[in-house]
């Protein structure tokens, strides 16, 4: 599998990020290929969550933050003045660390993204809700209880609901910010299977503190430490033959 043949969907070039005066990312350049899963790994506090949140500009909402360098979606900088951040976030969906269903019915959770864009047609909404729930492998479990509050679902189901909710607005890229850190191993396995399926239609970026997970689900891996990108490459190569001593120490469990 040669990297050159693949299309780069999203990439960062020399990305710096500051919380106030504290530098959280230092010249991070990562490419995310179309229909591939890119994993970001590294010890706690290395900036991996900060990194993934710059991709859909979620960090914009935190006061006192600053970005330098470029973040490109299909070659266009997502911070250029003619890019609408609302449109960017629809194209680049996000699943958070803790499942965050809204206190609404399962149906209304999935339909939320469409409704805020003005979709009112009941038939269309029903079709999209079914398709999204099927896409997130949740349909069979909830098809008879779409009116129930989303809080009645288990943690793993809630996370798949959040994935379905993200799918409903038909994004091109899906960002997962440690999606399995708050759920049990069986639910985790389901989500990993799901990511495997999702990459057929989407570009996937996943932050994880679980190296086995990165090895299982990703095609490319970026290893970060202290805000810097230490190594980036094909997952298999990173895990079998890391070029950098730090990467080797981390994946063999010598620290982290």
């Amino acid at each position: 599998m040669s990297a050159d043949a693949l299309k780069i969907r999203m990439e960062t070039r020399d990305l710096d990020f500051f919380y106030g005066t504290k530098k959280a990312l230092d010249k991070v350049s990562v490419a995310c290929y179309e229909n591939r899963v890119t994993a970001i790994i590294g010890p706690s506090g290395c900036g991996k969550s900060t990194f993934i949140r710059t991709l859909n500009r979620m960090n914009d909402v935190i006061a006192g933050t600053r970005v330098e360098g470029s973040i490109l979606l299909d070659g266009k900088d997502v911070r250029s003045p003619d890019v609408d951040v609302v449109d960017l976030r629809r194209r680049v969906g996000m699943v958070f660390q803790k499942p965050n269903p809204f206190p609404k019915s399962i149906f209304d959770n999935i339909a939320y993204g469409l409704r805020i864009n003005g979709m009112r047609d009941k038939k269309t909404l029903e079709a999209v809700v079914e398709k999204s729930l099927q896409g997130a492998a949740l349909w069979d479990e909830v098809k008879d209880r779409l009116d129930e509050n989303a809080f009645s679902l288990s943690g793993g189901q809630q996370q798949r609901l959040c994935i379905a909710r993200a799918l409903a607005v038909e994004p091109e890229v899906i960002l997962f910010d440690e999606p399995c850190s708050a759920i049990d191993p069986i639910a985790t396995a389901k989500i990993e299977d799901l990511i495997e399926t999702l990459k057929k239609s989407y570009t996937v970026v996943i932050v994880t503190h679980n190296m086995q997970q990165a090895a299982r689900v990703s095609d490319y891996t970026a290893f970060m430490m202290l805000g810097e990108l230490v190594e980036f490459g094909v997952t298999e190569r990173i895990f079998t033959n890391p070029a950098n001593k730090l990467t080797e120490d981390y994946i063999t469990g010598r620290f982290g």
Binding site: V61, P103, Y112
Partner: protein, 286 residues
């Protein structure tokens, strides 16, 4: 073994002390309610609630005062609820958390501690004199509204703070604008709390004397106000007069207690309404 016995003894006395404090507070409250209830209960009758005072307020009822308090509280609500909620939404959701907004927030907290008589005098200057609303139910309602605003803003802001950030971020991540995320994913869950705090503030305003005595409340007025420019009778002011300003002290005393009882019932009723609103809205969301 010895150490654990000692810890248990300390715990026993600690809880005993805390429970004692609670019972003391309850006892004072019950004594207070019993005193007013027993002395005012006899005055309550259909005539007392439905007729105007007669014979220099030594006989008759307090109907104009009940309606006056109700109307002035409505005016207060019209000013304080929308303005307070909107200010809170801006402060909590939109304003950058700078030194200036911290100063503003602190000032609002301080305003809620300003004595009500100061609001009353301020209302005389602003509404009665400068804006020429005269001594009227409008001036009194607006003065009470100003006094209630800090409470409304603070309560609404606290209610907004209880909404997890993940609701806001989740909506934004789906391509919602900031306003959409607030309108559809924050306000519906914050409004019960906002209303509760607001109604509690209104109940407090309904019982105030000082802000209305110079701005619109009448000493004696056997008719109801017909426009915003009219004066009105109000329960707290009526009570104040009966208790301290009336010459026939012994004759009006039962009437004063009756008025106090009605005022307490009114305030309690408003607080109950707040509880019911919150309960209903919360249950609807489940």
């Amino acid at each position: 073994m010895k150490g654990s016995t000692k810890k248990k003894v300390i715990q026993f006395f600690g809880f005993f002390l805390l429970r004692g404090c609670l019972f003391l507070v309850l006892a004072i409250l019950l004594l207070f309610l019993y005193d007013i209830g027993s002395k005012g209960g006899g005055a309550i009758s259909w005539e007392f609630l439905s007729k105007a005072p007669r014979r220099g307020m030594t006989e008759g009822g307090i109907y104009p005062a009940i309606i006056g308090t109700f109307l002035v509280t409505m005016i207060t609500a019209v000013l304080a609820i929308p303005l307070g909620m909107c200010a809170a939404i801006y402060l909590n959701e939109y304003a950058k958390q700078t030194r200036l907004t911290r100063m503003i927030r602190l000032s609002i907290r301080n305003l809620s501690g300003v004595p009500s008589i100061v609001y009353g005098l301020f209302g005389v200057i602003l509404f009665v004199n400068i804006l020429r609303f005269g001594t009227s139910i409008l001036s009194a309602g607006l003065t009470l509204g100003l006094m209630t605003l800090p409470w409304t803003i603070t309560a609404s802001e606290e209610a907004l703070k209880t909404i997890p950030n993940s609701y806001r971020e989740g909506a934004l991540a789906l391509g919602a604008t900031k306003w959409q995320s607030i309108r559809t994913n924050v306000l519906p869950y914050a409004v019960p709390g906002m209303l509760t705090g607001t109604v509690l503030g209104l109940a407090r305003a309904a019982g105030e004397t000082a802000p209305i005595m110079f701005t619109g409340a009448a000493f004696f007025l056997p008719i109801l106000p017909r426009s915003l420019g009219d004066q009105f009778m109000a329960l707290p002011y009526h009570l104040y007069i009966m208790a301290t300003q009336h010459h026939a002290i012994v004759q009006v005393r039962p009437l004063a207690y009756g008025t106090a009882l009605v005022l307490i019932a009114l305030v309690l009723g408003m607080n109950m309404t707040a509880v019911i609103i919150r309960y209903r809205l919360r249950r609807k969301q489940r």
